[in-house]
Subunit: 314 residues, 2 copies
């Protein structure tokens, strides 16, 4: 019998979808697949696409899929944005446009719900990225809404982060941008046919000039009207250019190191903390201790200390 | 010499601010303070205020401060929303309005940055809530932008969650609401003088009717124009009413139990995982293992297993 991993390596979409479900639900067997997948992965260019709701991220993603496909590149898409049409968040028209890619064997699209993962959203995203990687996706586009810790965690996986903004979304939305400025490598002012596009570019340029120190890569600001396809090739070109700079400067190696650190720490949480809790529960001690902490009879530090006794002696 | 905790209990704002900084920076001594603070805390009503950028959360918070102050209640405010004027995100006018409370000894306002905490944002928020609690804040308002895992984590501390929406923010922003529907106890349609307010209420009512099962508390939908003060007393009244229902039904006890579970787990991560990593680093083994994982020579599960050896034998 052919294993699910062999089928994924042979380009079987159904097998890939099945493996992703296994990972999402933490099914038995997922871990063994992911152990092997890890050692075979590391070939894809992982590109994060982030920005506030309403800036047109999904339309941009759609356009980038086309741009990369026209060069013959295989593309994977992960939508972790609750407002993305890829995730089922939105509008029928967008939805239908996406579905045109469903027939293309070189494109694989998967949405991840924003909550409810057993092992955490960013962990699930990291594993889906690796599965798409060994499946042969040369570019993996990861779309997130860009606020909140788990989205920032997911952007850690990306080699290149594309930050999308749009003119005229109001001061409060502009304020969000300040937080994601520091993680962006390519900035896109989408809907650039709207009033205020030049002002948005100027503000962005000003903020970038203020905050940037690194020299090897100067983040470009690109005007686009993704709904008409304008500017998309330039975005794609800059995304590829950024990868080259990462490779030449050795930063790609640093990136892989940071990703490994993050992932190993997450697994230590699984194997140590969640294991202690399971054992304490089995002994009836978890309930008792939590009851005392909730009742203010025991402080949580003392509780954690007592629970440490339940560590598996290995 | 009077301890910092005694000064906080005596209502010293400077001591409170100092203790919060100690917690934020994980200074030595913070833990001993927090151990004592935990056993004295548990008296405040913790109220989360969440919603997308632009719905007017801060104006609502401002109005709620006034409403609770007019009843003589002491109020604490924690802003973890990057777009909040409390957090320094935004507009000068809002900023000045907030500052009027700075002179009121019954109001304490603190913003938490959305990243960069040593121990994690939600942990810091949980500790600041307890400090405000023992300081004597009868109501603690916690404002977040409502997307992302760390914000959802913070909302776990809240007894009552107020979800704020506004008419006419576009379909994509509306889609976010679906995700926070299930955590809301009181819904506010702010800017209700705008076109589309009734439609927003209808949609919200429809979604609530679809998703709700619990009977003890039927979430109200309240029209407000926070900038004019309209509807704020009704919001405050419903918030207090919700607390009463929690007390009567025993859900307040369940809530404290869940908060304790979350907190103890976070501390176990500190004491087990971060301890293992420190020890492995000291032995030079962390670097070596991460290098192999990054180079695809070792899988992260095997790495976590090897690192477990560095557990402190207690």
């Amino acid at each position: 019998m052919v294993s699910i991993l062999e089928r994924i390596l042979a380009g079987d979409k159904l097998a890939l979808a099945r493996a992703i479900s296994m990972v999402e639900n933490e099914e038995p067997g997922a871990k063994d697949i992911m152990k092997k997948v890890h050692t075979m992965s590391g070939k894809s260019h992982i590109v994060g696409i982030t920005g506030a709701p309403g800036v047109g991220k999904s339309t941009l993603v759609n356009g980038l899929i086309k741009a990369f496909r026209s060069e013959g590149k295989r593309v994977g898409v992960i939508a972790v944005d609750p407002t993305s049409p890829f995730s089922g968040g939105a509008i029928l028209g967008d939805r239908l446009r996406m579905q045109s890619h469903a027939l293309d064997p070189g494109v694989f699209i998967r949405s991840l719900a924003t909550r409810g993962y057993l092992g955490g959203l960013s962990k699930a995203a990291g594993q889906v990225i690796k599965l798409l990687d060994v499946y042969g996706s040369e570019v993996i586009l990861v779309e997130t809404v860009g606020t909140g810790q788990s989205e920032v965690d997911i952007m850690r996986y990306a080699h290149t982060v594309v930050v999308v903004v749009a003119p005229g979304l109001g001061d409060e939305i502009q304020a969000i941008k300040a937080g994601i400025l520091e993680i962006g490598h390519v900035f896109v002012v989408n809907k650039a046919d709207r009033d205020g596009a030049d002002k948005t570019i100027q503000e962005l340029q000003f903020m970038l000039d203020m905050s940037r120190e690194e020299k090897a890569w100067k983040p470009p600001i690109i005007k686009a009207v993704a709904s008409r396809g304008d500017g998309l090739n330039e975005v794609a070109r800059n995304v590829k250019e950024h990868l080259k700079v990462l490779q030449v400067t050795g930063r790609l190696t640093d990136h892989m190191k940071r990703a490994a650190e993050f992932e190993v720490r997450e697994l230590l949480i699984d194997s140590l903390v969640d294991n202690v809790i399971s054992r304490a529960k089995a002994a009836g001690e978890w309930e008792r201790i939590i009851h005392r902490v909730a009742g203010r009879d025991l402080d949580p530090y003392a509780a954690a200390c007592r629970l440490s006794r339940f560590l598996r002696s290995s």
